[in-house]
């Protein structure tokens, strides 16, 4: 274990910047999860599997010459359909929130097996035109893939926030999350809206997946590495709040980065999990 060493200002700022980038990805991954849990009362562990599946598909299409960002045109509708289908199944069987956690865990295992069968357990890295470029702002390096992730995360989070806040559809979703029977008494078709929302969450997962493919090396077992920290971001940010995961994710990412720069990378996980524990113990009501 390395000792406590204070890094240089440049190193620290670069760390903070990379913390912001990874935090943005936490936020993007957490967005769909938070909406699903907060507004639909379903905990979708398979969200991570969806993201990784999308990542692998993006990788595969890149190998066939398709630009990763272009592949979104195919992946987003595909995963929208998958997400809506999954929700339809769970609604049909009236699966409780806790059981949805278990069921989607099962689904995660299945998807992991599919990924491993097709792409094996070897590490895969997407080689894209974006990965080769980086900007320099002052002394700081800004890699393009990470920048794309940040832009997408911010744009999508704000878009969702705006829809929830200002559109009738968004208000209907929030109302139905609070009191579904009364919302339907005023004409809200919650069955249809839920399918829309579930599809959107899965579509968001696929966008996160593409960002993952751009910036990280892929391996099936890597799925689980994100679960803990993204759940932490979701709960810290408050369920069902569009900007929550982004803000909390960035907070966690930066704290982790600073911890890593000051001590050693292996201490990083303790940050997010300790925050999660503290939030749960002190203010459990806030997290639901």
């Amino acid at each position: 274990m390395s000792g406590f060493a204070l890094p240089s200002a440049t190193l620290l700022s670069q760390s903070v910047l990379s913390g912001i980038f990874v935090g943005a990805l936490y936020g993007l991954l957490g967005l769909g999860l938070s909406l699903s849990w907060g507004l639909l009362r379903l905990i979708n562990l398979a969200h991570f599997a969806f993201a990784f599946l999308a990542a692998y598909l993006c990788y595969q299409m890149a190998a066939l010459g398709v630009d990763p960002l272009l592949s979104l045109a195919l992946l987003v509708p595909l995963f929208f359909a998958i997400g809506a289908a999954l929700h339809w199944l769970m609604a049909r069987f009236a699966v409780t929130p806790f059981n949805s956690l278990l069921l989607t865990f099962g689904l995660t295992g299945i998807i992991e097996a599919i990924i491993q069968t097709i792409w094996t357990a070897d590490f895969r890295k997407l080689e894209s035109v974006y990965g080769e470029h980086k900007f320099k702002i002052g002394v700081l390096y800004v890699p393009v893939p990470e920048l794309i992730t940040l832009v997408l995360a911010v744009a999508l989070s704000f878009a969702v926030w705006a829809v929830l806040r200002y559109t009738d559809l968004g208000k209907a979703m929030r109302a139905a999350a609070e009191d579904a029977p009364i919302a339907s008494a005023f004409g809200v078709n919650q069955k249809r809206n839920a399918l829309l929302l579930a599809g959107t969450c899965a579509a968001l997962a696929s966008v996160a997946g593409v960002c993952l493919a751009l910036s990280f090396t892929l391996a099936p077992s890597q799925m689980y590495a994100w679960v803990g920290v993204v759940f932490a971001a979701v709960m810290l940010g408050g369920l069902g709040r569009a900007l929550g995961p982004l803000v909390a994710g960035t907070l966690i990412g930066v704290s982790e980065a600073i911890t890593m720069a000051v001590t050693s990378p292996s201490w990083a996980p303790i940050v997010s999990f300790s925050l999660l524990i503290v939030i749960l113990v002190l203010r459990p009501g806030r997290a639901t």
Partner: protein, 234 residues
């Protein structure tokens, strides 16, 4: 306007309504009174589409709406002010009212409906941006009624609007309800507070243990010995 034919509702094995038949005529203010546990909320929820019925028919303005999915009842022209208000407490008062006019037909008249609601309950003007959960009981009741009016219904359902409110506020509430009815809205009111309900309504039914046991003009009903017996035991 509204006819219930032999409506039966049961919760699992436990029956709540045993073949209720009644009618609401256009423009009248009808009340259904009865003791606790008589099935009043069940009745209102069935008419609003929130509660599924086991047998019987609900006919509204000539069409049978019994089999419609819950979210289509509002479209048909029925709006509810539920027992206990059931506002969307996490949302602002304005958002609650906007939700009331969620359907396209009501949405086009949203501005007028809002003006009308604020004219009826001026106190809400300063509260539009507040979260609905922060209002007092009486104010919440006003929001609940306004929300239902925003849907521009032809039949307004009220479930125990006086519950949990102090006598003075109840008085104002019923005055507002009377005004709404005077402007042409058909109202079906369900209440345990017999006094207030009978004062505002033109006709009343008495519901006891899931069955209609009496109906007629309020004054006649109150003088009847069986009503006195039901409420006072003597």
């Amino acid at each position: 306007m509204l006819e219930l034919h032999d409506l039966q509702v049961a919760y699992g094995a436990a029956p709540a309504l045993w073949g209720v038949s009644l009618e609401v005529r256009s423009g009248e203010l009808l009340c259904v009174v009865g003791p606790n546990g008589a099935g009043k909320t069940t009745l209102i929820n069935a008419i609003a589409g929130i509660q599924r019925t086991r047998a019987g028919r609900i006919v509204f303005e000539g069409s049978d709406i019994t089999a419609l999915p819950p979210h289509r009842f509002c479209e048909a022209g029925i709006a509810i002010v539920p027992e206990g208000r059931r506002l969307f407490t996490g949302m602002s008062v304005l958002e609650n009212l906007e939700l009331g006019s969620y359907l396209p037909a009501a949405k086009t008249q949203r501005k007028q409906s809002l003006d009308g609601a604020l004219a009826l309950f001026p106190v809400l003007k300063e509260k539009l941006a507040s979260p609905a959960g922060e209002l007092s009981g009486g104010q919440q009741q006003m929001v609940a009624i306004a929300r239902a009016l925003m849907a521009r219904p032809r039949l307004l359902l009220l479930d125990e609007p006086s519950l949990g409110l102090s006598p003075l506020i109840v008085h104002d509430m019923f005055a507002a309800i009377r005004r709404i009815n005077a402007e042409g809205m058909s109202v079906l009111l369900v209440e345990q507070n017999v006094v207030m309900a009978m004062e505002v309504s033109t006709r009343a039914y008495v519901l006891e243990e899931g069955r209609i046991v009496a109906d007629g003009a309020p004054d006649d009903l109150l003088a009847r010995p069986e009503i006195q017996r039901a409420y006072l035991g003597v």
